[in-house]
Structures are given as structure tokens and as C-alpha cells.
């Protein structure tokens, strides 16, 4: 059985000698140093082992692939043959928490499980190749272990690993999305499901859905156009509306004008009072004039003993000389009458 980790320098001289003999390589002189034996060993034997190694690698890959296929066959039972609980468990293995599985939801969850199973199968086969490219040897070792130990014993670990793998493969899927369109139809629909977990993406999913839908939805297209004649066809299925404009920004019209400075109640009162101050002054003036007039009239009617008021009356009477002749005797009669009353 060939040794994989053979390093001639680590072997003893006698061991090297026996190996050389076994490979029918001419031995150097008996007193040669170990280095000579090592060189010879490297030259002849390692060449031979290189040839053996390649075939061994192929066998390894084949064995791994077979084991993986066997493991997958054990893991991909037909979703419609599962019981409700098994279906739920299988979905959980792939990192998807399912709701109640009743008659109406069963079909949906079976379809979902099939979708989840397909990309996993492709991942395992591609993982071996990618492991070489991306030096992801841990993945391969884990898969080999699972394949050998059986799928059911590893369900818990497997769910964690598939989540990790799906998250890792999610990164791998992104470059694939930009490959030619032949792959776009299958991959994005699937990888969005595997990567999405519970988050909801509307607009990015619309495009792969639309492309996937176009293939299988010819009979519905016409009725849709009949029902919605006004909708404009968009190539990506994304409908966008204009965002509400920011008020007053960049020349957009201001729809609602706010007051410049907020006014406190006291300032509002002061403003109201100030507005009426001018009329208030006029009112006070008029009031005073009225008071003065009333007082004069009262004084005149009350008592004529006050000389200024008498003078005032006389001055008033002097104003009308034409009729004074008749009034004066009346007044002289009045004044003694008034003085007589006192």
C-alpha cells in the first residue's frame, strides 16, 4: 500500500535502500551518504508514486462522489411521500421554518422542499471542484465524514453546515447571477430561496420571477392584458412611482406654509392690544370731551351763581343780538326769579 505522506528525508538509510531495491533502482556505492539515497529515491520512486497518486485521486473523488450520491439518495426521499412531520423536519434541515402543514399548504411546502433540495445537490457535486479552486478543504472533509457516518445521525450538524454552506454558496451564487441568461432562469429563483431566509425582497425578485413566469404563463398573458389594459409593460416588471417631493427643497413648490416664528400667547396678546391702542386713545379723548360737556350743561342748569357760568351764558346770549332785545328783559326777569328762588 503506497504511503501518502512519504518524505524520503525522514526515512532511515536502510529503509531507503530497501525501497530502492524494491523499485529496482540501481543502488549507489555502499558507503554513500544518505543524501544520495534520498535523491535517488526522490528521482525514481516519487515519479512512480506520482503516477500512482493521480489514479488514487481519481478513485478518491469517485468514492467521495459515490458516497455523496448515496448520502443524497438517502436524503432526497420524494417530498410527497413524507408525512407532515417529516416534511416539516426536512424543511427545517434546510433552514426554513415552516408553518402548519395542512391540506391547502402541503403542496406549497412540498414544492418548497424540492426547490431547496435541488441546489443542495448541485452544490455537493460542484463543491468538490470548487474546493480545489477556493481551497475550501474543510467542506469536503465534512461531506466525506457525513457520507460515511450516514445522513440521519448527522441531521443536527448538517442543518448548521447547510446553513453555513448556503451562506457561503450564497456568495458563490452572486457571480453566477451575471452569467449568460441560460443560467439566469434557474439559478436566481433558486438561490434567492436558499439565501433569503425570512427577509422579503420585492423588486429584485420581480425580475427572475418574471423571466421564469414568461416560460410557463402564456395562457394567462392575454387575460391579464384584457384585465389591466392601462398598465405599461416594463421590461423588468418593476413599477416605480415618484417619491413625494421634499417641501421647499430645490425649487419645489411649498404646499403648506408654516408661520415664520412661533408666537407665544403673551406676544399675541400684546400685538392685539397694540392694534387697538390708537383707537383706544381716540375713545378716551371723546370720552373726556363728553364728560366736560355734560358737566358744563349740568352746571348751567343747576346754578347760575357761579360768575363764570353767568359770563358764559351772557356770552352765549351776546351771540344772538338780533333777538336779544326780547330775550334780555326775559333774562333780567329770569335772573331775579332765579335769585329769588334761592
Amino acid at each position: 500500500m503506497p504511503l501518502f505522506e512519504e518524505d524520503p528525508a525522514h526515512l532511515s538509510k536502510s529503509r531507503l535502500k530497501s525501497d530502492l531495491v524494491a523499485h529496482s533502482v540501481a543502488l549507489p556505492p555502499a558507503q554513500s551518504k544518505k543524501d544520495v539515497y534520498v535523491e535517488l529515491h526522490l528521482k525514481h520512486i516519487d515519479q512512480k508514486n506520482a503516477a500512482d497518486f493521480s489514479s488514487d485521486e481519481e478513485d478518491q473523488v469517485r468514492d467521495v462522489a459515490d458516497k455523496e450520491e448515496d448520502a443524497e439518495d438517502a436524503e432526497i426521499p420524494d417530498p410527497s411521500g413524507l408525512t407532515d412531520d417529516d416534511l416539516k423536519a426536512a424543511l427545517l434541515e434546510h433552514g426554513f421554518k415552516a408553518g402548519p402543514i395542512v391540506a391547502s399548504t402541503r403542496a406549497v411546502y412540498e414544492k418548497k422542499l424540492r426547490k431547496l433540495l435541488q441546489p443542495d445537490g448541485q452544490d455537493h457535486l460542484n463543491g468538490a471542484e470548487k474546493g480545489v479552486v477556493y481551497s475550501d478543504s474543510e467542506e469536503e472533509d465534512e461531506e466525506e465524514e457525513e457520507g460515511s457516518q450516514g445522513a440521519k445521525e448527522e441531521t443536527v450538524e448538517r442543518s448548521d453546515q447547510t446553513q453555513q454552506e448556503s451562506s457561503q454558496n450564497g456568495d458563490f451564487f452572486y457571480p453566477q447571477c451575471f452569467l449568460p441568461s441560460s443560467r439566469l432562469l434557474d439559478m436566481p429563483i433558486v438561490d434567492k430561496h436558499s439565501m433569503k431566509n425570512q427577509s422579503l425582497y420585492y423588486t429584485p425578485k420581480a425580475s427572475p420571477y418574471k423571466w421564469g413566469m414568461k416560460l410557463s404563463q402564456e395562457p394567462v398573458k392575454d387575460t391579464f392584458k384584457d384585465m389591466f389594459p392601462d398598465t405599461q409593460a416594463t421590461p423588468t416588471g418593476i413599477h416605480a412611482t415618484r417619491r413625494k417631493p421634499i417641501k421647499g427643497a430645490a425649487g419645489r413648490p411649498i404646499q403648506y406654509v408654516y408661520p415664520d416664528t412661533p408666537a407665544s400667547p403673551t406676544t399675541q396678546e400684546r400685538r392685539a392690544v397694540e392694534r387697538r391702542l390708537v383707537p383706544i386713545q381716540i375713545q378716551i379723548l371723546v370720552f373726556l370731551i363728553v364728560v366736560v360737556l355734560l358737566y358744563l350743561i349740568y352746571a348751567c342748569v343747576e346754578d347760575n351763581s357761579f360768575s363764570p357760568f353767568v359770563a358764559l351764558l351772557e356770552s352765549l346770549n351776546q351771540g344772538s343780538d338780533g333777538e336779544e332785545g326780547l330775550l334780555l328783559p326775559a333774562e333780567t326777569q329770569d335772573t331775579p326769579a332765579l335769585s329769588g328762588q334761592e
Binding site: 399548504t105 403542496a107 404563463q217 391579464f224
Partner: protein, 90 residues
Amino acid sequence: MSSTSQKHKDFVAEPMGEKSVMALAGIGEVLGKRLEEKGFDKAYVVLGQFLVLKKDEELFRDWLKDTCGANVKQQGDCYGCLKEWCDSFL
């Protein structure tokens, strides 16, 4: 986000009561007929399905597509309509 239709606004404005399945946004005559044939004759039955699928958008869209053949826009309209109704009334 796409703008909502008048049908959507009418549906989410009030409890659905006994409204027909064709009152749902995105569900017209043809799709409504197919849903009724499958037993989803009232809007609340579709609501029931929506709730049983835990209001998950993807699952509901898939179910709608499988059941009555709705396209992407119709799926989205129906999902949005039910989701908003639930936000207001549920």
C-alpha cells in the same frame, strides 16, 4: 414601491365581511373564477390561506400562482392588499 389601485384602496378601507374573492386587488374575473372552483369562494377564505402560510410573501405568491395561475403583478397586488388589510384590522 408600486402605487396602489382603487381596488386595493377600497378593500383595505373596511373589514372584508362577505366580500367575494374578486374584490381582492389583483384578482379579476378569470382568476376569481379559478379560485372559486378550488373552493376559495370568499375573500376571507383566501385570507385564511394567507394567514396559515404565516403571511409569508414567497409562499403566498407560490400558492397563488399554483392555484389560479396569477402572474407576478397579480400576486404582488393580492399579497399587498391582504397584508395591508391585516395590518389595519387583524
